[in-house]
């Protein structure tokens, strides 16, 4: 019996300890400052990992916050040199989540001078993935001892990271700045023929405005991340959504100090080498955007409020028209 108990207890404690050490070393949920084995932090659960990163850092140093979807995760917070920013954006992030997380950050004692909010048009056209979440909860981390030592999920994430089994093209470097994988596929877009007339849903506008109520004294800068012209045509224009999406963006940004739009057909969005899917742009592009957001550059993007709504819509459509004619695709209009 003694030998049995000795073997049993030794085995259990050895395996559990090994798994614990492995999980702490890879730290896929960012409890202990991320991966210590290699410089890759894979975004398994960005809501949780970003919260961990936020909670385990010196929160008082942040005078700037960034909210947005996975497109905004590629905006390097260090490229925004005027402030110390925390990038709280995550995959498939929606407006109601930004408002909830903004309140959470405020409750934790952070009082930013500046807030950047990514405004994605998909917030106003619901599908199953982006459906309005009536009850949003912040991904509060469990105590570390539960998350590390005894979590099969964490172990799976750790093993996937070590053996590079993850399929994510987007990842984070050691300093938690978003990057592209070297194996990112080449973007090969096509225009669709399908034409439908769909409608927008404006209920998320209120959540964008809510951020202003949470931080009434902060300078809030909205921005519409770049979208490739193919995606813009296929997902907005061809579905009859372009006008109403622009209207929603225009309305949502009214309570912000400035809002930039990088999503119209431009030298960034009409080429394919700087994106892998037409939505996620290379960090170099995002560095240029950062310069615009800090008003260090003006030849990129537009300021929405220099136009009225009609002019804003016309600007987008004329740019799209111009591009399509140039590419002999005018018949699609």
């Amino acid at each position: 019996m003694l030998a049995y108990l000795k073997t049993y207890l030794t085995m259990v404690s050895t395996i559990i300890s090994f798994i614990g050490v492995l999980n702490v070393a890879v730290d896929p949920l960012w409890y202990a400052q991320g991966n210590k084995l290699n410089p890759i932090n894979v975004p398994y659960n960005e809501r949780l990992t970003k919260t961990n990163l936020f909670l385990h850092s010196d929160r008082q140093k942040y005078d700037c916050l960034i909210f947005g979807s996975s497109r905004v995760t590629l905006l390097n917070s260090k490229a925004l040199k005027n402030n110390v920013c925390f990038n709280y954006s995550f995959s498939a992030g929606t407006a109601e989540e930004f408002a909830k997380y903004a309140q959470y950050v405020k409750d934790k004692g952070v009082n930013p001078q500046k807030i950047y909010v990514g405004i994605d048009a998909y917030n106003f056209t619901f599908d199953k993935k982006t459906a309005l979440k009536k009850k949003v909860e912040v991904a509060e981390p469990k105590p570390a001892y539960q998350a590390y030592l005894f979590s099969l999920d964490t172990l799976q994430f750790s093993l996937k990271t070590i053996f590079r089994l993850n399929t994510e093209i987007r990842y984070y470097e050691q300093d938690f700045q978003g990057k592209f994988s070297d194996n990112a596929p080449k973007y090969k877009p096509k225009f669709v023929d399908k034409k439908t007339q769909e409608k927008c849903n404006f209920s998320r506008i209120a959540y964008y405005k809510q951020i202003r109520h949470i931080f009434p004294n902060a300078k809030i800068i909205g921005y519409v991340p770049p979208i490739s012209v193919w995606k813009l045509f296929n997902e907005s224009y061809a579905r009859g959504l372009l006008d109403c999406e622009l209207q929603a963006i225009y309305e949502a940004s009214k309570s912000y100090d400035i809002t930039y739009d990088f999503s119209y057909p431009s030298e960034i969005t009409t080429v394919t080498y700087n994106t892998y899917d037409g939505s996620h742009y290379h960090p170099d592009v995002n560095n240029q955007i950062a310069q615009v957001l800090e008003e260090k550059r003006s030849n990129l993007g537009i300021r929405i409020h220099q136009y009225n709504l009609n002019e804003y819509q016309q600007f987008h459509k004329s740019k799209l028209k111009e591009y399509l004619y140039k590419e002999q695709q005018g018949k699609r209009l």
Partner: protein, 500 residues
């Protein structure tokens, strides 16, 4: 505190064991028993300290009544006191457990809109109330004369079985507490206890919690008024059948294993119930200690089978209806109890017919047919047991007989038909073809009454050769199972029977 929580496994249990055996080592037997009572009260209070008072008042009251019953000589006075004692226990149980049900049923009948504020059910109240009733009846019969208060406290509060049983009889456990060797550390008890606990933990967190992913969506969808198809309904019903078994038998194994670490043998609660070849056989194998309680303290006092066939059927029906109501408030539990009452009555009538016409039913085909019909009947009953209300149960039953369409829709069970089919098949193969934990551990008398249930065993020579032994191979196998179970603890879930 949950058995499947880190706090319990790595703090509460080792500390409790260490102090218990430390006191035992230096000959402080009474102190060790008192320590166990203290630890058990802490275990109970961890959930909600407010209800600790209720537990203590209930213990004090029942011990006093039991003590007085032992002192009284007048049969009339004794009977009156016994009735008063049982009534007091049932009133307390009824207030907490059924007040909402009675008020809402009365409001429905009268057509008025009236709701009580939801009363929170104190954890384990059904179990500790029943156990105290057995004590009162045994005191009335003069079988508890030498009880000491601390021993009685431990009899009720002993934490491995406090929340969800097994329901123990006074005579089964009090002599074990009185034995001074109980607090001497024993390697065999520890090895057997850890092994049984690990197997129970594995059954709960790996089998029960994972298979629940197929049951819950189907029952929740039906509760929302959406009609699951034939395949979905069967997947939901079978998954719940497996979930309930692995959950509750896993819990019982954990309780038995923990008690064994302390040198105490608890009675067996499950013995491969889905291998039963008749519904009577099923109730000899499912929640055995509750079945025994209902038999000894309800069915037999009602007259059992001593007053003719009609009266036996009536007694069976009353017993099973009350057994159903004991499980919870709601007409679905009443129906479930009544259904099993009807099953048992049919079963007995069939036995009578067999004897009358000398039908041979011990051949392979008859046994397999009996097993199949029993299993289907049990699965059908679980649909009512699991459903939020009768309407939900009927939606699923309609689905099971094909009235909601046959096709499989991936919207209800996200992982799809193939995965559900594979997972359910694996677990069905385990419950039908492999020995239960008690059989695996059979060489080491894992439970109090193992010899009694051993005759239900039907395992082949092949399986008996694989019985657990304290060797290196088993140490490796059990440690791997333990690690897998521990890795599932981050998804801590409550035991299904906590709600009863």
């Amino acid at each position: 505190m949950l058995f499947n929580s880190l706090e319990f496994i790595f703090l509460f249990l080792p500390i409790s064991l260490f102090i218990f055996f430390f006191l035992g080592k230096y000959g402080y037997h009474r102190l060790a028993i008192t320590w166990l009572v203290t630890a058990s009260l802490f275990f109970y209070g961890w959930w909600n300290p407010r209800y600790l008072l209720l537990l203590l008042v209930s213990i004090g009251l029942n011990f006093f009544i039991g003590y007085t019953l032992n002192q009284l000589n007048s049969p009339v006075r004794k009977k009156t006191l016994l009735i008063l004692g049982i009534t007091a226990n049932l009133i307390i149980l009824g207030c907490f457990k059924y007040a909402n049900f009675f008020v809402s049923s009365a409001a429905d009948i009268l057509g008025i809109n009236f709701n009580l504020q939801n009363i929170i059910l104190p954890l384990g109240i059904s179990f500790f109330t029943f156990q105290q009733i057995t004590y009162l009846v045994d005191s009335y019969r003069g079988e508890t004369k030498d009880s000491k208060f601390v021993d009685y406290c431990l009899f009720i509060t002993f934490f491995p079985k406090l929340i969800s049983g097994p329901i123990v009889h006074h005579s089964e456990i009090m002599p074990q507490f009185a034995d001074k060797t109980v607090c001497q550390f024993n390697l065999e008890n520890m090895a057997v206890g850890i092994t049984i606990f690990s197997l129970g933990l594995f059954k709960k967190v790996v089998f029960a919690d994972n298979i629940a992913a197929y049951a819950s969506p189907v029952f929740n969808t039906a509760a929302a008024g959406i009609f699951p198809t034939f395949l979905e309904s069967w997947i939901g019903a079978l998954a719940y059948t497996l979930q309930l078994y692995f959950d509750f038998s896993g819990y019982s194994d954990m309780a038995i294993g923990i008690a064994r670490m302390f040198g105490i043998k608890l009675p067996v609660n499950f013995f491969s119930p889905y291998k039963a070849t008749s519904i009577s056989d099923f109730w000899r194998r499912w929640h055995i200690t509750l079945s025994n309680f209902l038999r000894d303290y309800l069915y037999i006092p009602l007259g059992g089978n001593r007053k003719g066939e009609i009266r036996r059927s009536l007694n069976l029906m009353v017993t099973m209806l009350l057994g159903g109501i004991w499980h919870g408030e709601g007409w679905q539990f009443v129906f479930w109890g009544g259904l099993h009452g009807a099953y048992l009555t049919i079963n007995h009538e069939w036995n009578v017919l067999q004897k009358k016409y000398d039908l041979k039913t011990d051949n392979w085909l008859s046994l397999k047919l009996g097993w199949f019909i029993t299993f289907l009947a049990v699965v059908f009953g679980w649909v009512f047991f699991r459903s939020e209300n009768m309407a939900t149960a009927l939606i699923i039953v309609k689905g099971m007989i094909g009235l909601n369409g046959l096709l499989f829709s991936t919207q209800i069970i996200e992982s799809g038909l193939k995965k559900a089919f594979i997972d359910i098949s694996i677990l069905l193969a385990i419950v039908w073809l492999t020995p239960n934990v008690q059989e695996w551990m059979g060489k080491y008398d894992p439970v109090f009454n193992y010899e009694k249930v051993k005759k239900l065993s039907s395992n082949s020579l092949f399986w008996s050769r694989l019985q657990w032994q304290p060797n290196q191979t088993y140490a490796l196998v059990i440690s791997v199972l333990t690690v897998i179970a521990l890795l599932h603890l981050t998804k801590v879930s409550e035991f299904l029977y906590f709600q009863f």
